[in-house]
């Protein structure tokens, strides 16, 4: 009887656990190890950050759900990996440390037959000196706690401007030369602009997009050519139109390298070093691996077999220039090449390279987005990992027939552009594939036009809200939850 241990209870980990539990009988053990007590629907943090939702609208406790469904749960964090076992325990295992309750701080060895590493990213605020949520007037919306704090500060700023009549500056974008998740920052800037507009103080605020993208609309995906109504336009043109319409300024090609109170120091691709001043900023940090270590049977460190920052999977990691990148570089099964019972879906896997063209300035500073792995591919890759494990357990089929490369997968990005039942708006973008395949679609920037399209309007807001409720319903594993696609 098999034991499957899942590290992390975010979109990827929770999806894998839910599918495994549904499809495997109870003689097999499904165990989740994660430090968070709640599941959070991260995409709706944007609305927490503008006070339209509170944390209770986007989270629910995991323990009761897992108990009801027969999924084991340890509120603990993984510390190190022993994929060959160790002198303490013969079976492959991980060392975990409890983070709460009576056992807080105590360590335990957790053995497994299959291991799914879905620990996502470390929010590496430390890579940008001074970028600390809640300090120096900079905020984050990466967690519901951060987003709650961001809204409190923004609300106070709006109240101050109302009272004093003084002008204020807001900066939203990326807080590191190689940050990713531009989509989330894009949503937040549009939502903040609408909140300020609704307060009647729009003329008092200068709102600026500050980002490491070469051009607007890059989104860490090398930008895209998309169908917009009957026209074909670039994502740069689309985002530029939205910003111009909303009176939002922009600074691109820039990597923030230091924050002091109310000042972002940045360097751009032209090699200039500049400062941007603000009263409120929301800057997405760099995402990094967690720095886990791994050991072989004899206790010798063998971290390089499992990790290259994030976890190594079936990607082509050989270093080659942008011109030689291919769709085939991207992983398909998310299986670790050294240990075939370890998988890493979602953000936890190490991408072969970025998606956007890498660029650096004369001083050698690299300024370009890291590749995003959004919620949808995180869910899809988690489900296919679960399905491959199920195939192995039930049918002894080791072929890994479930495959899903981000270069052969569509994604929808429904970016909220303002909250409101009738005054809201959303920018809906779909791309196929997520990673451009320049050989297959040479004339349309690596993507299939039509399946790559954009739309702006109130319907986008309704869609985003529908997805919020649908995905929380699914995550709560309510009746027929599995019908809702990832």
């Amino acid at each position: 009887m098999a034991k499957i241990v899942i590290l992390g209870a975010g979109i990827a980990g929770h999806t894998a656990a839910a599918h495994l539990r549904r499809k495997l009988n109870k003689t097999h053990e499904v165990l989740v190890v994660s430090p968070n007590s709640n599941y959070q629907w991260v995409p709706s943090n944007i609305w927490v950050g503008i006070g339209k939702m509170t944390s209770k609208d986007i989270i629910f406790p995991l323990k009761p759900l897992y108990k009801k469904k027969g999924i084991g749960f340890k509120q603990a964090k993984v510390m190190s990996f022993y994929p060959e076992g160790s002198n303490q325990l013969i079976k492959p295992h991980v060392k975990v440390e409890y983070v709460t309750g009576e056992r807080e701080g105590t360590e335990e060895l957790v053995d497994y037959d299959y291991l799914i590493n879905a620990t996502g990213p470390k929010l590496a605020f430390d890579l940008t000196p001074g970028l600390i949520p809640g300090i120096h007037n900079t905020y984050s919306v990466c967690t519901f706690g951060h987003a709650t704090e961001a809204w409190k500060a923004l609300k106070e700023l709006i109240a101050t401007v109302k009272k004093t009549g003084e002008n204020a500056k807001i900066i939203i974008g990326t807080g590191h030369a190689k940050s990713t998740c531009q989509g989330a920052a894009f949503e937040y800037i549009l939502n903040v602009e609408k909140v300020i507009n609704d307060s009647g103080l729009r003329d008092k605020f200068e709102i600026t997009w500050l980002s490491n993208e070469y051009d607007l609309g890059d989104f860490g995906m090398d930008g895209m050519l998309l169908k917009y109504g009957r026209k074909n336009i670039s994502s740069a043109e689309m985002v530029k139109s939205v910003f111009e319409d909303r009176g939002i300024k922009w600074i691109t090609k820039s990597g923030v390298n230091k924050i002091e109170k109310g000042v972002a120091f940045y360097e751009n691709l032209a090699g200039e070093r500049k400062e941007a001043h603000f009263d409120f900023a929301m800057l997405i940090p760099a995402f990094s691996g967690h720095g886990f270590k791994s050991y072989d049977k004899a206790g010798q460190e063998n971290t390089s077999k499992l990790f290259k920052g994030f976890m190594l999977v079936d990607a082509d990691y050989s270093s080659k220039p942008y011109e030689e990148w291919t769709a085939q570089d991207w992983p398909e099964t998310y299986q670790n090449p050294s240990y075939d019972n370890i998988f890493a879906p979602g953000i936890a896997f190490a991408p072969p390279h970025s998606i956007s063209r890498p660029r650096k300035n004369e001083a050698g500073t690299e300024i370009y987005p890291a590749p995003p792995r959004t919620g949808m591919p995180s869910g899809i890759t988690a489900k296919l990992v679960a399905d491959n494990i199920i195939d192995q357990i039930k049918n002894n089929n080791k072929n890994l027939s479930h495959k899903g490369s981000m270069a052969n997968m569509g994604a929808a990005c429904i970016a909220s552009a303002g909250y409101g039942a009738f005054s809201g708006s959303g920018v809906s973008i779909t791309t196929f594939p997520i990673v451009p395949d320049y050989k297959k679609y040479p004339k349309t920037q690596g993507r299939k036009l039509g399946k790559t399209f954009g739309d702006i309007g109130l319907a986008g807001h309704w869609l985003k809200l529908t997805l919020h409720y649908a995905f929380l319903y699914k995550a709560k594993m309510k009746p027929f939850w599995w019908i809702i696609p990832e």
Binding site: Y228, E244, T430, K451, G457, P485
Partner: protein, 41 residues
């Protein structure tokens, strides 16, 4: 590209947007739910 008054009217008109909502939901399902796979063979 600059949004015209007609563009903005279309983007905000709830009636038009109800149809858009249905259209977008179907189209998005078509793009994302129609499968994913390998690139290597």
């Amino acid at each position: 590209m600059k949004f015209t008054k007609l563009n903005k009217f279309t983007m905000k008109n709830p009636l038009i947007q109800v149809f858009k909502f249905v259209y977008l939901s179907v189209k998005i399902m078509f793009v994302v739910a129609l499968g994913h796979g390998s690139t290597r063979n």
